[in-house]
Symmetry: D2
Subunit: 243 residues, 4 copies
C-alpha cells in the first residue's frame, strides 16, 4: 500500500484570537447597583467606572459573583485535542463549537513541546514537580513524537484513500493533533477558568495546571485584563479566587 506524502506541520504553541467582546467594569457596576438604585443604576453605563473601583473590589472580596456575568467574550482558539479535552470540562457559562473530525479531514498539524517546557515528572499524584531534561533528551522526545504523529497521519490517509469514513479513519489520530473552536464565556466563568488553569504566586488556592492549557489561559487572561482593568486588578489582589 502506498503511503502518500502530506505536508506535516508542528507547532509549539496554541493561539487565542478575540472574536468579539461586550460589557466591562461599567456593566459590573450597573448590575451591582440595581440592588440599591433600581433604574438609576443605568446611569453607571454612561460614567467612568474608575471612580467606583472600591465597589468592584467589595464585590470581589465578598464573592458576589453575579454582576460579573453581564458581559461576553468570544475566542477563536487553536490548540491540540488534549488541551481541548481539559477545556471542555468547564461546563457552566461556557459555549463551544469545534472543528469536526466527522465532517472534515483533519489537517496534519501537531503539537510539540517547546525547548523550555520541563518534560520530566517527579513525585506522586497530587504532588508532581515537572523538571527540565537535557538537550539530548529533548531532541529524542521531539524525534519520537514527530515520528509517531507522521506514522499515525499516514495511516489516517491510507484509510481515507481506502474509502473509509473520516469518523472511523480518525480513530488512529493522536490527541496532539490541532483542533480549533469558538469558545464563549463571561467574566465570571472566565475567572473560574483562570483560577484553575493558571499557576500564580498570588493565588490563594494553588493550582498545578498542565502547561499547555496554562498557556491558553494566560492568553485569555491578557485579553480579560484589557477589557476589565478594575475587575482584573481586584481578581489578582484578592487571591485569584473566582467570585
Amino acid at each position: 500500500m502506498e503511503i502518500s506524502n502530506s505536508l506535516v506541520r508542528f507547532s509549539e504553541h496554541s493561539t487565542v484570537t478575540l472574536v468579539q467582546q461586550i460589557g466591562g467594569d461599567d456593566t459590573v457596576l450597573a448590575s451591582m447597583l440595581v440592588s440599591t438604585q433600581a433604574e438609576a443604576s443605568l446611569a453607571m453605563l454612561e460614567e467612568d467606572a474608575e471612580g467606583s473601583e472600591g465597589r468592584i473590589r467589595y464585590l470581589m472580596k465578598n464573592r458576589h459573583g453575579t454582576p460579573f456575568e453581564h458581559n461576553l467574550f468570544t475566542f477563536f482558539i487553536q490548540a491540540p485535542i488534549f488541551v481541548f479535552r481539559e477545556f471542555h470540562r468547564h461546563r457552566i457559562g461556557w459555549s463551544y463549537n469545534e472543528e469536526s473530525g466527522r465532517y472534515k479531514q483533519l489537517e496534519p498539524h501537531f503539537w510539540i513541546p517547546p525547548m523550555e517546557r520541563p518534560l520530566a515528572q517527579e513525585g506522586k499524584p497530587g504532588a508532581y514537580v515537572m523538571v527540565p531534561v537535557d538537550k539530548q533528551t529533548y531532541m529524542t522526545t521531539i524525534a519520537i513524537l514527530t515520528d509517531s504523529y507522521r506514522y499515525s497521519y499516514k495511516r489516517y490517509e491510507n484509510l481515507l484513500e481506502l474509502g473509509i469514513a473520516r469518523e472511523v479513519a480518525r480513530a488512529c489520530l493522536p490527541v496532539a493533533i490541532f483542533s480549533s473552536m469558538y469558545a464563549t464565556c463571561n467574566a465570571r466563568s472566565l475567572m473560574a477558568f483562570l483560577s484553575l488553569r493558571t499557576e500564580s504566586e498570588r493565588a490563594l488556592f494553588k493550582s498545578t495546571p498542565m502547561k499547555e492549557i496554562a498557556e491558553v489561559a494566560d492568553k485569555i487572561e491578557q485579553l480579560f485584563a484589557e477589557a476589565f482593568p478594575i475587575t482584573y486588578k481586584a481578581f489578582c489582589d484578592y487571591g485569584r479566587v473566582c467570585p
Copy 2:
C-alpha cells in the same frame, strides 16, 4: 399609629429595555462552519449572512443548538415580583441581578391588570381558559387590588418608621409590587424562554403562559427578531421549538 401618605403608582404594563447586544446571524454561521472549515469560518463574520439563510434553517430544523450561544443580550426589565418569580426559574444561560428589598426601600409601584386582560378562569388545572369579565367586575377588581396594595404599603411604612429592618418590613408587601433587574442571556436561552413563555398559533408545542410574563416575552421577542432576522424567521417557521 399614624399612617403616612405615599405617592402610590399603578402600572398595567412591564417594560423591557435593551441595555447591550452583541452577535447575530453571522456569529451563528461562523461558529457553525468551524466544524467543516476551521479557521476559514472566521471569514463569515465579514460577509453578509443573508446568503447563508439555508444553513441557519438547517441548524434550526435539526436542533443543532450550540451555534446560537455565541452572542449576548442584556435587558433591563421592570415587572411585578410574581413575573420575576416565573422568570427566575430559567436557570440555564440566564444571568440576573435584581433590586433588593433588603438593601433599599421598595417604591409603592404596583401592577394592575389592563382592561383587556381576561380575568376569570374556567376549567381544570392544565386546561384552563381565561375569559373576560364585565366592566363592573373589572372595576371592582381594580378597587380591591389597589386598596389591598395601599394597605400593605402603609403597613410597610409603619414598620420602617418603627425602625424595623427593610428585610423584615417588606414581608407584608404584595407580589404585585414592581421590581427591576438586569437579565442577560444568549439567543439559545432566549428561544427556550420564548418557547415556554409566549402563546402562538405557530408553536409546535403549545404553551399557556401567564399573560404578564407573555407580555415581557413578547417585548423580548421583538428585540430578538431585530438582532437575528434569519434565525428568528427560522425559529418561527420550524414551530418555535428551541434548538
Copy 3:
C-alpha cells in the same frame, strides 16, 4: 362586600424534610480515584470511606469540585416566598418544583419573626448590623404584620369570590406567605449554597445572609453533615469554601 373569615396561620419557622438521598463520602472517593485507578476505583464503593479521609481533605483543600457531584439530595421545603426568591437564584446544580399560585388557592399561612430575631437594621448597605428591639416593638411589629397579612388574604378571598382567576387574585398576597417546593441538589451545589447562605465563624469568606434563609440553610447543613461526615468535616476545616 362581605369579608369571609379564614383560618389564618402564622409560623416563625421554615421546615426542611429529606425526601431522598443517595451517594456519600464513598462516591466522592470512587469518582476521585477513577483518575488514577480507572475501573479499580469501583472497589471504593465497597470499602469503608473512613480510611481515606486524607484524600477527601486533599480534594477540599485544593478545590477539586467534581467528585462531590455524583450524589443527590431531594428536600421538601416549606418557607415564605421571600426566602424562595433568594433560594431560586441558585441556578447551577439545583432543580425546583414549587407550589403554584396559578393552579391552586394559596393557604393563609404566613411568616412572622420569632422573638429572638434581631429586627432593627443599623449601618450602610454592605455593612449592616441587625440589632434586637425591645419587647414592645416586637409585639407592635407582629401586630402590624399579621394585620396586614389578614387584610391582604381577605382581599384575595374577595377576588376569588368575585370569580377572578387565582393568578390575578394572588397579586395582593404578601411575600411572607408560605409556599412549598421540592429542591434537588448535589453535595457540591449544596456546599455552594451553604457558603453563601450561612453565617459562620469558620468561614474564610464571610457572608451575611438573611436570617430566614440561613435557618433553611442550617437545616440543610444538618442533613448534609449526616450523609457526608468526612466531606462535611473537611468543608468546615477548610473555611467553608465550596470546592
Copy 4:
C-alpha cells in the same frame, strides 16, 4: 532504542455499568403535584405510580421538564476518547470524573469497529449516509488501525522509558484509546442526551449520531427504561423529544 512489548487489547464495544440510581416515576409525580397539592404531594411517593400514567404523559406532551430532574443515575462508562469527546459536550445536568492521562499510564486498549459497522461515508456534510464495505476492506481497515495503535503505543512507552512525563508522552496516543469515567445525570438530562445521540424511527427530530456514541446511548436507554417505565414509554410515544 528498544521497543518494549505490551499486551495490546482491542475492543469493538463500549461498556456502561449502573453505579447507583434513585428516584423514578413516583418522584416525577410528587414533584409535579406539588404545584396543586403542596405537602399532600408527598403521599405520591408511597403510592403506585401506574395509576397516574396520564399525568406523566401530560408532562411529556406539554414539555414540562422540571419534574424529571429530581432523580439520579450514575454510570461507569468505558469507551474510546473520541466518544467521550462528544459525550462531554453535554454540559447541563451532567457531572463527569474521568481517568487521567496526566496521573496514570494509560492502558494499551483500543477501539476497533465491529464487522457490522458501516465504514464508508457517502454524501455531503449534514446529509451523510454510512454504507457497509466488503470483508476485504474491513480486514484492511482493522489491520491499518491496529498497526497504527500499536505503533503509537510503543512510542508512548519509549517516551516513558526515557523519563518523559506521562502528560507529554501521551500526546502521541490515538483518540481510539479507551478511557473510563463516572457520569452522573438526571432523567431530564438523560433524555436530552438520548434525543441527540440515538437514531430512532420514532424520533420527531431525526438525529444522525456517530455509531459509537449511539451504542453507549442505547445502553443508557435500557437502564433508563427499567428505572422509569412510565416516563420512558411517554418519551418514546411523544417523539423522543426531551421535555
